[in-house]
């Protein structure tokens, strides 16, 4: 397995720390003029999602994490696992709840997700930035109100609840920003 030296640290580099695959978020090189150099590094543990800070002596090496990112199609859930497929070779992968995390709120069949695989198993599922989902339940808005001010909660087909303008009705399809959980607009077919 390859090693990375601190001089190769960049945002996005995947390394192994204490047995867990991690993603480097930020790396700062610190060195008093004639002294020892250090790297102050911000890291996300890809298994737990936790962000932590680490101090490395410069030129220390750490093992690379055998992590690959694939675009996979979401198929279905059996309650315990969420099943994905690589459309190129039809290979299937199952992700547990920890790997799916918050993405579960937005997942619907045929979504193309960015899935991080570690030793061939999914550890992180990222949904597209924007998804289109059907409203299954929301209070009927006041007739004639198109201002959109205030808004109301709406439950979507995946179970997620987002705030929508008063004019949005049940059975309509809406576009949502999955990064913020905010309503973007109505989608007319």
């Amino acid at each position: 397995m390859a090693n990375y030296s601190t001089s190769e640290f960049r945002g996005g580099l995947k390394i192994m720390l204490d047995g867990d695959p991690c993603n480097i978020i930020e790396n700062e090189f610190v060195k008093p003029g004639k002294g020892q150099a250090f790297n102050r590094v911000k890291i996300r543990n890809l298994k737990t999602g936790r962000v932590l800070e680490k101090t490395f002596k410069s030129n220390e090496t750490v093992p690379a994490a055998d992590v690959v990112e694939r675009e996979l199609e979401y198929l279905y859930t059996d309650g315990a696992f969420w099943h994905f497929m690589d459309s190129d070779n039809y290979e299937q992968y199952q992700a547990d709840a920890a790997a799916v995390g918050d993405a579960v709120k937005w997942l619907q069949a045929q979504d193309r997700c960015q899935v991080t695989l570690w030793n061939e198993a999914p550890i992180l599922v990222e949904v597209p930035n924007f998804v289109v989902l059907q409203v299954t339940e929301t209070d009927p808005g006041l007739k004639g109100d198109t201002s959109g001010g205030g808004g109301k909660p709406a439950t979507l087909e995946t179970g997620a609840v987002v705030r929508v303008p008063l004019f949005v009705q049940a059975d309509e399809r809406i576009k949502v920003d999955t990064r913020t959980g905010e309503y973007v607009g109505r989608v007319k077919d």
Binding site: E28, F29, V30, P32, F38, L52, K54, N59
Partner: protein, 322 residues
């Protein structure tokens, strides 16, 4: 074929920044011309390299020889001084392998000058004059001995504390991973300095940190009145380390002993042993006049002057763009 992105051919520095750099260089030359200090040039490609364990060379290999891109023009300039050059300055590129970040670039611009007959204190005064001239502002000056900063900020007596006590202090200061790091004593001081002391130095004034511990003397003389410390100083301004200066060590035997000690430490750390610069030692044996010298990182001066945050903004093509 390597496909570059469409914008990474562009310089990091904008045209106004490039003009500010040109003006900075002009002002440096005006300053020294008015003081009768001679501008000199020395090789970037040298046969030898400083042994400092914290500075790694770019090595250039030919079929028949090995060369080192210089990390500072210090040895050559001291050879000029030993040959009776009188006061000299140089603006040159310097190279340090592996130093890259917002405030570091492996290739950078150094202003270095030497003053025969000056003490470190005289040279600090001249450096403060230069900074006021370059930045065009009145700047307050404060001198802080290195050990006092540790005493005030961390209640630590650096002369009494061993590596274990320094480590305990780093752990108490909640420096990430302090408990797991394996460091030599001076590296613990460096870590505490970088994490706890440097960020607290007042940015609006010129702070001279003086009297570094003898273990970090580099090429400075030890202080006669307290040989636990060396006549080495650094200048901090706007949160940046801008300059490093010495009352220069003139004793050839002491210098050779320090080089050897550096190489012992290099060996312990698994770093390559570097050849001794015998011509430099010979110049010291011939006689280096009592002098003080200082090196100023001009890219960082520009960073402070323009209130920018990254060297990439003040260099046309920092190494990432080179």
């Amino acid at each position: 074929m390597l496909v570059a992105s469409r914008t990474d051919w562009r310089p990091g520095a904008t045209l106004p920044v490039m003009r500010a750099r040109a003006q900075l260089l002009r002002r440096v030359r005006d300053f020294f011309a008015a003081r009768d200090v001679l501008e000199v040039e020395t090789p970037l490609l040298g046969r030898a390299f400083g042994t400092d364990p914290a500075i790694q060379p770019f090595v250039v290999r030919e079929d028949t020889a090995t060369w080192y891109l210089q990390s500072s023009p210090e040895f050559y300039m001291k050879r000029l001084l030993a040959a009776d050059s009188g006061p000299i300055y140089q603006i040159s590129k310097a190279f340090r392998q592996g130093e890259a970040g917002r405030r570091h670039n492996p290739e950078f611009t150094l202003l270095e000058w030497y003053r025969p007959g000056f003490s470190a204190v005289d040279l600090m005064d001249e450096l403060a004059d230069l900074m006021r001239y370059l930045l065009g502002t009145v700047l307050e000056v404060q001198n802080c001995p290195y050990a006092e900063l540790f005493a005030q900020t961390l209640q630590l007596d650096i002369f009494a504390a061993d590596a274990g006590a320094l480590r305990d202090c780093a752990v108490a200061q909640q420096i990430p991973d302090a408990a797991d790091l394996v460091l030599e004593r001076d590296a613990w001081l460096d870590l505490l300095w970088a994490e706890c002391i440097e960020p607290q130095l007042p940015p609006e004034q010129l702070t001279f940190v003086t009297d570094y511990p003898a273990s970090q003397a580099a090429l400075a003389e030890l202080n006669a009145q307290d040989p636990r410390t060396a006549a080495r100083f650094e200048l901090y301004y706007a949160g940046l380390e801008l300059a490093n200066g010495f009352q220069e060590l003139t004793d050839a035997a002491a210098q050779a002993a320090r080089f050897n000690a550096d190489n012992v430490q290099r060996q312990r750390a698994g770093q390559p042993i570097l050849p001794l610069d015998t011509r430099f030692i010979a110049a010291l044996q011939h006689g280096l006049p009592r002098c003080a010298g200082v090196a100023v990182g001009l890219d960082r001066v520009l960073l402070a002057q323009l209130e920018l945050s990254s060297l990439d903004q003040v260099q046309t093509f920092a190494t990432e763009r080179a």
